[in-house]
């Protein structure tokens, strides 16, 4: 059985995108799994939005996110104030490393040896599990998909469905090898085994770490969506709860949640709502009988404030992490999530990761797209993903003197040969007489056209030059 054994994130060379993509394309299991999964998610999303005014709803989503971003610093201060009033401790981290350190310090202060985790993409970004494990603190994933991926010592291949690249058979084998579960093709049996194993962990964990889907400044509330119940377990059972979130996740008003929730779950999995929508506004009160005695929030920057500087790139921060973009992406469907080698794969990965790891590291990401626009069409908050990809391509090659590039690692993809080719191309096409001369000659000598054109003719015959250009025929017509 062919499997996709990816090394942990910190060992992946993001630049090796091409060989990973190639391997994935020639892996029938990956092709099959992803095709089937993406087709299912796409049709579920379409069905969920039926009968709704989707375009107006997307406008609302975009406006809610933009309104929040327009006032981001003030909102973060208000959020901090409200959270603090509610008894939640607020921490700020400039980068992933600092965020990890904050979590570790809280654990150490509580003499915590085990952490149970709810699903959190930011914690993946931080590589938190690895950081804690290296320092003697066990960090166990409780979301079934994340649990599976962790047992396999892999990273998630999709931001919503982490184990989407695995078959039932593979999962059964994995659970058998790592936890002693009997081999079975019965999904209910496998799920029940995981439930038992994880229940022990919830009960005994010292700290629960979760992500945050939305943070409400007005009321100091952290909102979480989930289907399994592990999020509620993680944020209720252990005596200490630490929530990690990107700084862009804050919204001003509780009312904003209603619009975003309506878009998030339908866009992600085609559900009208997830099983649980959990809103946390404080630690256990004096008269309450359960819940954590301590709740912390870590506000993580990690490159987001850089994205924030630019009017066009700012749209990247509207993202509500639904995954619809990758569900609809023809590239993602063919290479799967691991090929990207980054925390966030797919279209959102391609526009976000260059800011987190630099355009030098992520140099293949912006170009790995045909700009088909399927992603932008389904994005619930109307992020113009294709436009941002083109902008990052320009940044990669320092291609616009009128708009000097700013993103870290810009210009790293510029090479003098290609730059010269475009210069030559531009020179010829900006001089109509020269263009007509050149193309006329090409038509005349079309039989000398090379039959092999690199990547093109690997899969296709070469296009055939016409005996006369349209220009020439129009000229003749006028005579």
């Amino acid at each position: 059985m062919m499997t996709d054994n990816s090394p942990p994130l910190h060992k992946i060379d993001v630049k090796q995108f091409h060989p990973r993509a190639r391997a994935a394309i020639h892996n029938p299991q990956i092709r099959q799994n992803f095709r089937k999964a993406m087709d299912g998610l796409m049709s579920k999303r379409t069905a969920a939005f039926e009968g709704m005014d989707l375009e107006t709803l997307r406008d609302l989503g975009s406006n809610i996110r933009m309104r929040a971003l327009a006032n981001l610093p003030d909102l973060l201060e208000q959020l901090e104030q409200k959270l603090t009033e509610n008894g939640i401790k607020v921490h700020w981290a400039l980068d992933a490393d600092e965020a990890c350190k904050i979590v570790r310090d809280i654990c150490v202060a509580r003499d915590a040896k085990s952490v149970i985790k709810g699903k959190s993409m930011v914690s993946e970004e931080m590589e938190l599990n690895h950081y804690l494990q290296e320092r003697g603190i066990e960090a166990l994933e409780s979301d079934l998909g994340e649990y599976i991926v962790q047992l396999a010592d892999e990273t998630p291949s999709h931001i919503i469905m982490p184990a989407i690249h695995k078959n039932t058979g593979e999962i059964s084998q994995l659970l058998h090898d790592k936890t002693g579960t009997d081999l079975s093709s019965d999904v209910n049996y496998l799920t029940a085994s995981a439930r038992l194993q994880l229940r022990e962990k919830f009960r005994n964990a010292d700290v629960g770490v979760s992500g945050v889907n939305f943070a409400v400044a007005e009321t100091g509330t952290l909102c979480l969506v989930e289907n399994e119940g592990n999020g509620r377990m993680t944020t209720t059972v252990p005596p200490c709860h630490i929530a990690v979130t990107g700084i862009e996740k804050v919204v001003p008003n509780l009312e904003d949640i209603t619009g975003l929730l309506a878009l998030l779950t339908r866009s992600a999995t085609g559900q009208h709502i997830t099983t649980y929508f959990n809103m946390i506004s404080g630690p256990r009160k004096a008269d309450e009988l359960d819940g954590p005695e301590e709740v912390h929030v870590v506000l993580v920057d990690n490159g987001r404030s850089s994205i924030y500087q630019d009017d066009q790139l700012l749209d990247t921060l509207k993202c509500i992490r639904c995954g619809a973009c990758m569900n609809h992406c023809p590239v993602y469907t063919r290479v799967g999530g691991h090929a990207y080698g980054t925390t966030y794969p797919g279209p959102i990965g391609k526009i976000l990761m260059p800011h987190l790891i630099g355009l030098d590291e992520g140099q293949h990401l912006p170009s790995a797209s045909s700009l088909c626009g399927a992603c932008g069409e389904v994005c619930p908050v109307k992020i113009p993903i294709p436009d941002l990809l083109v902008r990052l391509r320009q940044e990669s090659v320092d291609g616009d003197k009128l708009h000097p590039a700013k993103v870290r690692g810009h210009g790293s993809k510029r090479n003098s040969v290609e730059a010269m080719i475009w210069k030559g191309w531009g020179w010829m096409h900006a001089k109509p007489g020269l263009y007509r001369l050149g193309t006329g000659i090409a038509a005349k000598f079309r039989n000398l056209q090379p039959g092999r054109l690199g990547g093109w003719t690997q899969y296709r015959t070469a296009p055939k030059l016409a005996p006369k250009t349209l220009h020439q025929r129009m000229k003749e017509r006028q005579q």
């Binding site: 170009s367 045909s370 626009g373 083109v390 993809k413 690199g454 093109w456 690997q458 899969y459």
Partner: protein, 261 residues
Amino acid sequence: MSDPIKVYPSKPKKVYFYGTCLIDLFYPDAGMAGIQLLEREGIEVLFPEDQTCCGQPAFTSGYHDDARAVARSQLDLFPEDWPIVVPSGSCGGMMRKHYPDLFKGTPDDVRAAEIAGRVWELTDFLLNACHIKLTDLGDPATVAMHTSCSARREMGVGTVGPALLGQLDNVELVEQVRAEECCGFGGTFAVRHPEISGAMVSEKVATLVESGARNFVTTDCGCLMNIDGYAEKNRQPMKGQHILSFLWQRTNPKSEEAHDD
């Protein structure tokens, strides 16, 4: 993102015809067909001699200085207030959607935006501005429509091709599964990421063949050479044509000459 509400001009006396570089070099018959279709509607077609390329290849590659230099030379071609018709969703999209941004903050700011507002994809223009009525003179045929991503999403003309083909009584239009999925051309994407592009076009050809058609039509030459080229190399029973060539041949009794489209 496509215009939510398009306000079509009424049928004009003249239009500027912007052929596109791919049609110029590889599919001039499609260009001629488009011109003839317009002339048959009683419209005088102006063909600016100095047209070269809209600049898209450099633009999507990130070389915006070079794209702008080429595009600026093209801004001079449309001095009068006639609509500009383009036989391509992709080049039409470049001009209509991206010219305003490309020239923002430059002295050509206003001019570029004004020109962009006059750009129409040609089949869209024929259907919705000229209200063309087609009479099918051809033998029964089955065909699939490949709507390019830019035609669908940038120019918002996903329903136009099927509507025009629907006017042809002897043509049966079949639909391939996952019709909205990209064929994998993406301009330089096809050469920068050949395996991914290859995987995409391979599936596109397979779904087209599965639809029962042996021919397809499209507004975009990039898609055309991509899908056609794959089918030819891999001996798949699928052959494509620019939709303008197809429409002209079906409705013009005199078009029997060999064509390259």
